[in-house]
């Protein structure tokens, strides 16, 4: 069963496995290419990775295999949705209390992650 700490790993692996099966069934991809992608995923996403670790790895998945870009893109959008509102709210609070440097750091961190997720 899936435990809470590696929920994201399971989700990403499942999405990639489904993507490969669909592409193989439609002859959109060769078995050789699918084999290379699977090998890459199994080595880059070892078992027992935490969600935080997976988040950091996701952006690099489609560097070598463009076929994975839709999975990467989906998680990129998910990240934006999840953190955008929280970041804005926290920054507003910090600015209200004149903690400008902290607000700036938070914005930097948010955008840095977004750029990584590109």
């Amino acid at each position: 069963m899936v435990n809470q700490s590696n929920k994201l790993l399971f989700q990403v692996e499942q999405e990639i496995a489904k993507l490969l099966l669909v592409k193989l069934e439609k002859f959109d991809i060769t078995f050789e290419r699918a084999s290379q992608i699977s090998k890459f995923i199994l080595s880059h996403l070892p078992e027992n990775l935490t969600d935080e670790q997976v988040i950091k790895i996701i952006p690099s998945l489609d560097d070598q295999f463009l076929e994975l870009s839709e999975v990467v893109h989906k998680h990129m959008l998910g990240y934006e949705e999840k953190y955008k509102e929280d970041t804005i709210k926290n920054m507003q609070d910090m600015i209200k209390h004149k903690h400008f440097q902290e607000a700036s750091n938070m914005a930097f961190k948010y955008f840095e992650q977004k750029i990584e997720l590109k």
């Binding site: 496995a17 992608i37 199994l42």
Partner: protein
């Protein structure tokens, strides 16, 4: 290292005579291949991380020589959709299919092409852009609401537009192909100077007959009232037998009206509201229909402002 699968190739072979034969060369799943995929799908849709991971391992080690056949030729394989359907984008194709698919070519003019869809609809495609921002969603939404209003006010004379979308695409209720309409379309295909005298006389007579119909005069009057200005002042264009079809003595317009900032073909609000009141008083429309027209007009306004305010 496994051999890559060659992608399916469409080869057009010239067969004896004038017929071209389409041959598709492709590989297919073997019995084992089908079982393999079935098994993987069962595992991947489950909730066990170990099984999902196993699917990735299985894909890594899959032997395509067992799972796939050799290349086989498939002559005259059916191509999806009719040739007409193939020009539509996927979402539009699915809308067309939901109405019964393309059943033939209805007609073609200089700026539009019309396909029969299902048993009682027509899909109209503008060949070129017809007005500023005409390919925008707002343009088509404006046109849609304008036609909904016309249809509620004169349901027998303005067919209902079912859908109008960007990419110059409209679906409208089909007007029956009468003998006159078919002949008018045939005549209009020829350049005006090349018409036979008999055809020209027939065409002009038909136009006059349509213009003299009382319900045509009502249609014309409605357009003059609510559109600013309705450019066809004399009604000569609207009354052409290829633009208005007479069915059981009733003229039905197949013209499409659209917002245009060069000729300001937009709804005159005061006049529209006056007409709604008059029709309500005369019980020509119900309270509900009056409300619907007002709602449609608000939506029309929102879209027309967006589409006309933006410059090309």
């Amino acid at each position: 290292m496994q051999e890559p699968i060659s992608q399916p190739v469409r080869v057009v072979e010239k067969a004896p005579g004038k017929v071209e034969r389409v041959v598709t060369k492709a590989r297919e799943l073997t019995q084992k291949g089908e079982e393999w995929f079935k098994n993987k799908w069962e595992k991947v849709t489950g909730k066990k991380p170990t099984e999902v991971r196993q699917v990735l391992k299985d894909i890594e080690g899959a032997d395509e020589t067992v799972l796939l056949t050799d290349e086989i030729e498939k002559p005259n394989q059916k191509v999806e959709g009719t040739p007409e359907e193939q020009i539509f984008s996927k979402p539009i194709k699915s809308v067309i299919e939901s109405y019964g698919g393309v059943t033939g070519l209805s007609g073609e003019g200089s700026d539009k092409i019309a396909y029969n869809v299902g048993t009682d609809k027509v899909a109209l495609i503008h060949k070129e852009n017809v007005a500023p921002k005409e390919n925008s969603a707002e343009f088509y939404k404006s046109q849609y609401y304008l036609h909904q209003i016309l249809h509620i006010l004169m349901p027998d004379n303005f067919p209902q537009v079912r859908m109008a979308s960007g990419n110059n695409f409209i679906i409208v209720d089909r007007v029956p192909d009468t003998e006159d309409f078919i002949r008018a379309k045939e005549i209009k295909k020829k350049l005006i100077g090349t018409w036979a005298i008999e055809d020209e006389t027939w065409f002009n007579d038909k136009t006059k007959q349509i213009k003299n119909l009382d319900s045509f005069k009502e249609m014309k009057s409605l357009l003059d009232d609510i559109l600013l200005p309705y450019t066809d002042r004399t009604g000569d264009e609207l009354a052409l037998p290829n633009n208005t079809v007479v069915v059981d003595g009733k003229p039905i317009s197949i013209e499409l009206f659209f917002p245009h900032n060069n000729i300001s073909q937009i709804i005159k609000e005061d006049n529209l509201f006056r007409i709604i009141s008059e029709r309500l008083n005369n019980k020509q429309i119900t309270e509900k229909e009056g409300e619907i027209i007002k709602i449609f007009y608000e939506r029309y306004k929102l879209n027309v402002n967006k589409c006309l305010n933006e410059k090309r």
